[in-house]
Symmetry: C2
Subunit: 821 residues, 2 copies
């Protein structure tokens, strides 16, 4: 089949894009990459087939994927060509992550591999290592991975390439981000939504994304939807996504090279046209960016048939087209034939190095895809100009005297940060249409929301250059931010707590990336990925059961402790302090859970800083009877609503059982509860025991699923005395206090827990218990009649234990007991 | 703006679709529904405004969403019309789940509400209750939810409506599934992918899906992408998805009714044409099904402006357009004006019942949307004709003598089940392109893979009517299966274990649905949603780190214990027994984790059944020195690879420390480890203690994250003696045994754990420890040299402790100790 290259609607042009020498060189480069790809799959010795292939030359286990490699090699070869011609910084997102042999081959050819891994030299010995290490014990993974030069995307879990590409292109006006999308990946939801990234790409300040949809026709075992749908439907679909498609299709390599070169040239010209127009003449309507549709056979140039069954061009070439090569001499001959069909002697010199012709298209220095500093984002990272927190901190005349919405307070800091980075353009806030709902709307005094479509008079805050990105897709928010931070910039993802589970798997993959990257000396630390989870489980008054899920923390805490951090600030000032910390951090995934509804202010900024530095501490002003002796009971809390209920319980106990020595402990950093061996923030036992005692009853009100506290604390001495209240899957609820009552985390229940657990309280315990039970029934009846919480609940305020003349006594400083972190 | 209705490419027709009386009736029904929707948001008394509106009539908290209601009311009204005309069973998936007031209003109007909730009568008193209960304590949620008649989809978390619609339509050839997709939801990934559901819908055996994309222009705070993109792009996009669009657009109600009636008529005619053609003349190419694009203002007919600011037609009408109504008399007048603009006196008679004109379009009996038996799927559920397991069970002459791939064995059962339901068509297997990769390919002896696109000679197993559904989208697999089981049919979702996290949030929402539905007496039990998680964490030799994640079990076990079940069968026969059980179950989410690689057969079918019935039990044949006394150590295991390693450790201990009394316990049902109060399967303490002892060291090899075992067992007496090995986030690995070594779950490490924990073993402990450490280093060096596991590992087999003449002695029956479940 001859290749076609249809340059959009204008119809194919006919003048050749390539001179004969250039075509020969591109073809040689591509053959070399294909040879090296196949070699990695099969060989552990004799890399240039200088001697007849023997069983000992073959890997004992054949673990890799051939199907996608020839297409990726074609793309890489032609990216080399246009990078050399346009001298434009470029990264490529390799969606088909199984195509590591291709990307590694190209990196080795261009020399970037040997620069990062000097033992894998660009000669026969290095080729031998390149082959042997691939997907072998102690070697490199078979996916494009952090170990792969030039990569910022692992394709193991499919669906995120195009979102990553957009994230990388944002605020990098000179950058070209090519993105190879496999036609398998194209079936996923996140990828399907990602096409609309072009509605958010600012041609003035952002770089260009060039999607290359690779139709190789098959997944593991099936044809793909996009390869098999009628061509006119695919064309409509891509135009419906707002793209202007260019088609390259063929099976004859030289024809395809010609067509691909023409399509690449056209794409580059169109991109330049769009950007020049925007940058010279100002922004017009949203541009129609090019997309290349590349249709080549799966496993192209591999064995056409095996035992008479078609392999090339079918799903059978997805992984290892020829199996049993070590054992079967006939298969071994087929492999040798296949490998020699690339004519390695023309491609590599006697030392095993690539010949000049092979390298003719390869760009130099940082323009090489494997050497792009954009793909090692930490090289570009600048410290954020974080404003002084004093500007935003709320005054706290005494604990529990005032209320503020923590996220509203934080919005001031974020707005200032946006303003301070207005020129640098290296900080963004993403969220699924919830920035204002999450009470972060003060951001709009500093910026607008990115939007490249038409703007109507009734719209607010839409801006072609806005720093807030809103789209109703958690997948896109996450994918964009991952691409953004992996290229060295900073950001926050603000999300409804329940719906962040939508990106559970993406978060896990990002954590795995960071974990692996941190072990590579050449990878520089990148800004952390920061979640602000709000509209949380305890305040879903009108949204109900479907909006209640505090389990993201559980998911995250299953992952690498070197990477994950979890914070539950109890009020506005602690939220400020926590966010100041996480925005300075590197290489972490920080999860910050905070409410948007007004909640009591407990700590001044200074106290909040000290408390956050420790991560957990005794609030001695909230306890009673702490006179150096061990308390009778510890009331512990983590999260804003649990903290309120624990303090209300402490107040009730002070009133009902004044002789009881009660200690209140608040936890901000959940990982402090872990053993030191399990997390770098984990407390040593002596510190834990100093906070929680070794043997007193501990009643712990926790923001999420209660067993998480047991899971982090099960090795502690006091564990057998630990009683945790938290969220249970109880169904809908419709007033704020009813939510805590239904989950048995209300002040009355907590007091009942205490009287049930502290020995020696009978007979008074029964009376207290009864009063608490009465209060709970009163609440139940009241809300059904009035639709609102009891006034004594709604209007409850913390009272200092012994108010003095200034109204400030009874307030003691946040205690440092147990602190050492 | 006059309404347009463009009937696809043919251009708009002009003859009116509606006579004047019919138009009046439709308009009256729609006004009634809008009145009732607004009433639910605001009123707790005086539902027909028979007296002037007073503060006491207004709800104290206004919790609901108005914006989407008028559009949903329009759709419901016109669905009523075509259902009456075509008498075709219909369900509607209400994507904008916040639109519960609309769906509840319609259900009350048609009478289905009062039939299910007799206290909410179709008169003024019932209207009063309808209003008062909405989003109020003890009332009904503000989302379309299980409580909502006719619903099988909760829109709290957006993105799944269209996948649910396709799932409901499968194998229901007479059913019409209308599906309202909000333009906010349309931005999500799962929804974007769901449009391709038409590539899998068989016009012969499946019903029709009629998507209605509702462009009301705004999300919470932003314009929507699909409402703001140029119309010709949207048209291309929908045609690219394979649909034939019909447009309805307007702001004048009567014009819109006319246009909507015409579009609905056209859609129904086209659907009938497609289905008749397929059923009479045979299948041609994939049909282009209609889609309706309905463009009406957000908050249509609500307050146009409030304080001079536009509200109708903007995002400001998303929730409560008029706030402060209770406090502010002027606002209250505006509300009264708004409500009276619907002319309730024309709509409801003196008793408060809807007048005849209002009900003229409403269908009768089970044709009413709120009374459809399809939306209460348990009414249609039939027992599966499960074949006898003996047909598929593998013979087990003795434990560990043979190996089988558990999933391959299971495939036989699934294939037979497909064959046995070939006529009934109520069982499907879904998966993301992995059915064969997961070694379930025997299914293809009984059926093919659903595929409505072209089929090429090289393709295999594609079939217009196949019972296996493969698409590279876990979201679609999950969404389809949810729709399928909620309409009463059966299915299995086979998935790579790591990537099932992609649907974490969908699974959680389905569990919440089941939990809520189970409490509603009128909802009948539906078949369980069954996960077969395979290609699991311990065998990702070539896929590496990105494919390692056993955390779905943790996620699931956070959810309602009434609904969730988790099974880890250790071999082929136990997998058969577990699957036989889960396929018979109702209203659960069953998670079954099983390997696809050959693993040792431990139990005969009979033993497997007994073991699965208990869920956990002592394998006395694997232990040593059990002579009635308590063991010195308990070796426990859950999962196929952990079971192998524990048994290998037991064999090593028998050899190295023959005097040690070792008990081996295997756990199939993880929820048995929970306390009885926390899960219906939970063991009472005496049973747990009989298995694990109260005070002996327990070394537990677990399939997933080790702390899960602590989380389920922390209340047990033996907990302080419990030492768990499991998966850690360690990065890539490339041989099967290296995986367990790197995670410290290998036999040698387990033996070291035992010698470290059993008191009194010194001085021999040190020597054993050293031998184990030596074996581990030998392994490390060997795989680096040979690329494969040590022969002593690869060829290891279980040896009975004292082989007798038949080779069968030494084998004892699976012990019943501790069993009672």
């Amino acid at each position: 089949m001859p290749a076609e290259s249809a340059a959009g609607q204008a119809g194919p042009t006919t003048a050749p894009a390539l001179g004969a020498a250039e075509l020969d060189a591109l073809e040689a480069h591509w053959r070399a990459a294909c040879y090296l790809s196949a070699g990695q799959l099969y060989l552990r010795a004799n890399p240039l087939l200088r001697t007849p292939l023997e069983p000992a030359h073959i890997k004992p286990r054949l673990l890799g994927h051939w199907g996608t490699c020839p297409g990726l090699n074609l793309v890489h070869t032609h990216l080399n060509r246009i990078i050399s011609a346009w001298r434009r910084p470029t990264v490529c997102i390799w969606g088909p992550g199984h195509g590591a042999p291709a990307v590694l081959a190209n990196s080795w050819l261009e020399g970037s591999y040997s620069e990062l891994y000097p033992d894998v030299t660009r000669d026969e010995a290095g080729m031998d290592r390149l082959f042997a290490q691939f997907s072998s014990p102690g070697g490199v993974p078979s996916h494009v991975a952090p170990q792969t030069p030039g990569s910022l995307h692992e394709g193991g879990e499919l669906g995120y390439s195009l979102a990553h590409a957009y994230g990388a292109a944002l605020d990098n006006p000179d950058l070209l981000v090519a993105c190879v999308i496999g036609d398998g990946e194209a079936e996923t939801g996140p990828l399907a939504a990602s096409w609309h990234g072009n509605k958010f790409l600012d041609p003035l300040h952002d770089g260009a994304v060039l999607p290359i949809l690779h139709l190789n026709g098959y997944k593991i075992a099936n044809p793909t939807v996009s390869a098999r749908m009628p061509r006119e439907e695919l064309d409509r679909l891509l135009r419906g996504y707002g793209h202007d498609p260019l088609y390259v299709r063929g099976t004859e390599p030289r024809d395809v090279h010609e067509a691909m070169a023409r399509a690449m040239d056209t794409a580059m010209e169109r991109i330049a046209g769009i950007q020049n127009a925007a940058r010279d003449a100002g922004l017009g309507e949203r541009p129609r960016w090019p997309v290349i549709v590349l249709e080549t056979p799966k496993g192209w140039t591999g064995p056409a048939t095996v035992d008479g069954v078609p392999v090339e061009g079918t799903w059978r070439s997805h992984q290892i087209p020829l199996a049993g090569v070590r054992e079967d001499p006939a298969r071994r001959r087929e492999l040798a034939e296949w490998l020699l069909s690339y004519r390695p002697e023309e491609l590599f010199d006697e030392r095993g190095a690539p010949r000049d012709q092979v390298l003719a298209c390869v760009p130099h220095g940082e323009l090489r895809l494997g050497a792009s500093p954009y793909a090692n984002g930490g090289l570009h990272t600048r410290e954020l100009p974080l404003p002084r927190l004093e500007r935003f901190a709320v005054p706290v005349p005494g604990p529990g005297r005032s209320r503020h919405s923590p996220t509203e307070v934080l919005a001031g800091l974020l707005a200032d940060l946006v303003a301070a980075t207005a020129e640098r353009r290296d900080f963004r806030v993403v969220g699924p249409d919830e920035t204002a709902s999450n009470r972060l709307q003060e951001l709009y005094r500093a910026t607008g929301k990115t939007w490249q479509e038409a703007v109507l008079p009734v719209d607010e805050h839409l801006d072609r250059h806005g720093r807030v990105m809103e789209v109703l897709s958690e997948h896109l928010c996450q994918g964009w931010l991952e691409g953004y931070v992996l290229t060295g910039r900073h950001g926050v993802f603000s999300c409804y707590e329940a719906f962040v589970h939508i990106v559970d798997s993406m978060a896990a993959q990002h954590i795995k990336w960071l974990k692996t990257a941190a072990a590579l000396p050449w990878r520089r630390p990148v800004p952390s990925l920061n979640y602000l989870l709000t509209s949380h489980v305890w305040r879903q008054d009108h949204n109900g059961f479907s909006h209640q899920d505090p389990g993201f923390v559980d998911h995250i805490l299953n992952k690498s402790p070197d990477v994950v951090r979890v914070y539950l600030p109890p009020d506005a000032n602690t939220l400020l302090s926590v966010c100041d910390h996480v925005l300075r951090s590197r290489d972490y995934v920080n999860v910050v859970v905070a409410g948007k509804h007004p909640c009591f202010d407990w700590l001044s900024l200074e106290e909040a800083r000290a408390h956050c530095a420790r991560g957990a501490g005794i609030w001695s002003w909230a306890g009673s009877g702490e006179t150096g002796r061990e308390p009778d009971v510890v009331l512990a809390c983590a999260g804003d609503v649990p903290t309120r209920e624990i303090l209300a319980a402490a107040a009730l106990l002070r009133e009902q059982l004044p002789e009881l020595a009660v200690r209140v402990v608040n936890v901000v950093d959940m990982t402090r509860l872990l053993p030191r061996e399990e997390h770098p923030h984990g407390m040593p036992d002596h510190e834990f025991d100093a906070l929680f005692t070794r043997d007193r009853p501990v009643v712990f009100a926790y923001h999420g699923y209660p067993w998480l506290v047991h899971r982090v604390a099960y090795r502690r001495a006091v564990h057998d005395q630990l009683h945790v209240r938290g969220y249970k899957e109880m169904g809908s609820t419709t007033t704020p206090f009813d939510m805590v009552v239904r989950n048995d985390m209300d002040r009355f229940r907590l007091v009942m827990d205490v009287v049930d657990r502290v020995p020696g309280l009978a007979p008074r315990a029964a009376a207290v218990r009864q009063r608490m039970a009465d209060a709970r029934s009163r609440h139940h009846d009241w809300i059904r009649e009035h639709g609102e919480d009891l006034p004594e609940i709604a209007d409850w305020e913390w009272q200092p234990s012994s108010p003095g003349p200034s109204g400030e006594s009874g307030r003691q400083r946040t205690d440092a007991a147990g602190g050492s972190a």
